[in-house]
């Protein structure tokens, strides 16, 4: 099925490329900055502290498990934001390379998704002890965690494939994305719970913001020990559609990228 797309065929033919793009980038982070690895953990951690100050201390809301409820969605959200922002400049930033060698160009945005996934997993090193510290309710529903990651991965791949191509023709996209993701974050149930959404808007909210069910599911699975939110099926379906659309879009429009760099 995936082999219907030329880009996938090309990627498979060059399967060591993706591996090296990811591993070299990670090596550089580890090697160069002493705090390089640490920052990928500290950054979301500090962000969490700021939100705790705001929500739990100033507004006196969120409840005793607020820090882990928040941290369990901050990490995957960062994964998405990093991937999509990097994708917007993936082609322009590698212009010289793309103009010199015929490589499967999708490897550039896709590698960014994988690199940010590694950052996410590094962040879990902090998340896990925090789950114990704040007494998360562990249950076998934790097994859904990798499934959620996979579902988010599929969604993100679709998104970055489109964004990376559009970013070439529309250079403002990088700036627009910065603004949109910030807004999107506040429209998603990170600082609040989906129970805070008025009942009559609930369905519309869950349908219109696919990340609502993803956030709710991460919180359920990691902190509350309950099953994922039922709208996660909607998120996954959207992700699959987006991924197929992204591949089709990339196949159709990526050939002319080189001329427009």
């Amino acid at each position: 099925m995936a082999l219907l797309f030329n880009e996938i065929k090309f990627l498979r033919k060059r399967n060591d490329l993706l591996k090296y793009l990811v591993s070299t980038e990670i090596k550089i982070t580890y090697k160069n900055k002493t705090l390089g690895v640490l920052w990928s953990i500290l950054d979301p951690f500090f962000m969490m502290l700021i939100y705790i100050l705001l929500v739990a201390v100033i507004f006196q809301k969120g409840g005793p498990q607020f820090p882990i409820l928040l941290f369990s969605v901050l990490l995957p959200w960062r994964w998405f934001v990093q991937s999509i922002s990097a994708a917007a400049r993936a082609m322009v930033g590698n212009a010289k390379l793309i103009q010199t060698v015929n490589i499967p160009k999708s490897a550039l945005p896709i590698s960014r998704v994988l690199i940010s996934l590694v950052n996410y997993l590094m962040g879990c090193v902090v998340l896990i002890p925090m789950l114990f510290l704040f007494e998360a309710n562990f249950s076998w529903h934790l097994l859904w965690f990798p499934v959620l990651i996979l579902s988010q991965f599929i969604f993100t791949i679709g998104a970055v494939l489109i964004v990376s191509v559009v970013g070439v023709y529309f250079r403002d996209l990088q700036n627009i994305i910065q603004f949109v993701v910030r807004l999107w974050f506040y429209l998603s149930p990170a600082l609040y719970s989906i129970n805070d959404i008025p009942q009559k808007y609930y369905h519309a909210y869950m349908v219109l913001n696919p990340f609502a069910s993803l956030f709710a599911s991460y919180k359920n699975v990691l902190v509350r020990g309950t099953a994922p939110n039922e709208y996660i099926l909607w998120f996954t379906a959207l992700g699959v559609i987006l991924c197929i659309a992204g591949l089709a879009f990339f196949d159709k429009y990526s050939a002319n990228i080189t001329k427009n760099l």
């Binding site: 010289k96 060698v101 490589i103």
Partner: protein, 243 residues
Amino acid sequence: MEIIKAENLGIRFKLSGHKKRYIKHTLASVVKQQKKTTMSSFWALRNVSFSINRGDILGVVGSNGAGKSTLLRAIGGIYHPDEGNIEVNGTASALLSLGTGFKMDLSGYENIFLNGVILGFTEQEIREKVKEIIGFSELGDFIYEPVKNYSSGMNARLGFSIAAFLYREIMLIDEVLGVGDHRFKKKSQDKMAEMITDGRTIVIVSHNLESIKQYATKAIWIDKGRLKATGRPEEVIEKYLKN
């Protein structure tokens, strides 16, 4: 057997596309109530037809901006024809402009692998060649140092060595005929000559007419994207110089 065949090859670039990429330009044109500007386009190559056989060495001559590098990119599959077509039977590998794609924080050794996979080789293929590459580069233990600590000469030596040992049946060469200090230059030129006389199919773009005369079996002259002459290297170069 024809290994590269171009028929009425045309590559076009859109010009005003550049301006429209930022919102401010779009807004400006809305405010000024401009009609959509007609996209002017520019043919970097047009009506270019030629063919070369296995083992041929094609020299491409022409002044700056004539479309030589565009042609090389079209052969390499980087630009797709907007008109006519180009058939390439085999895999073409470009000599990366020495050092393109190097990651400064990684060692030379790691960069050999990274550069190799970018050029389309598998990890296994690179592993088989890595000793020869390091040997030829004369970098010794420096190969394990980060590339940012290299002198420009060392950088070029490594780049050349990678290109000299990792190549496909068709080689596309853009102005790299010897790098480094005097001694290494000689060595790299010899290596180049060896590769060229090895029966491989090669396309060389160069301003160095002497090396084209020396190596090429066939030449084409491109001027402003049009094919001006094709034939034996001496004849083509003579016509080019008279111009």
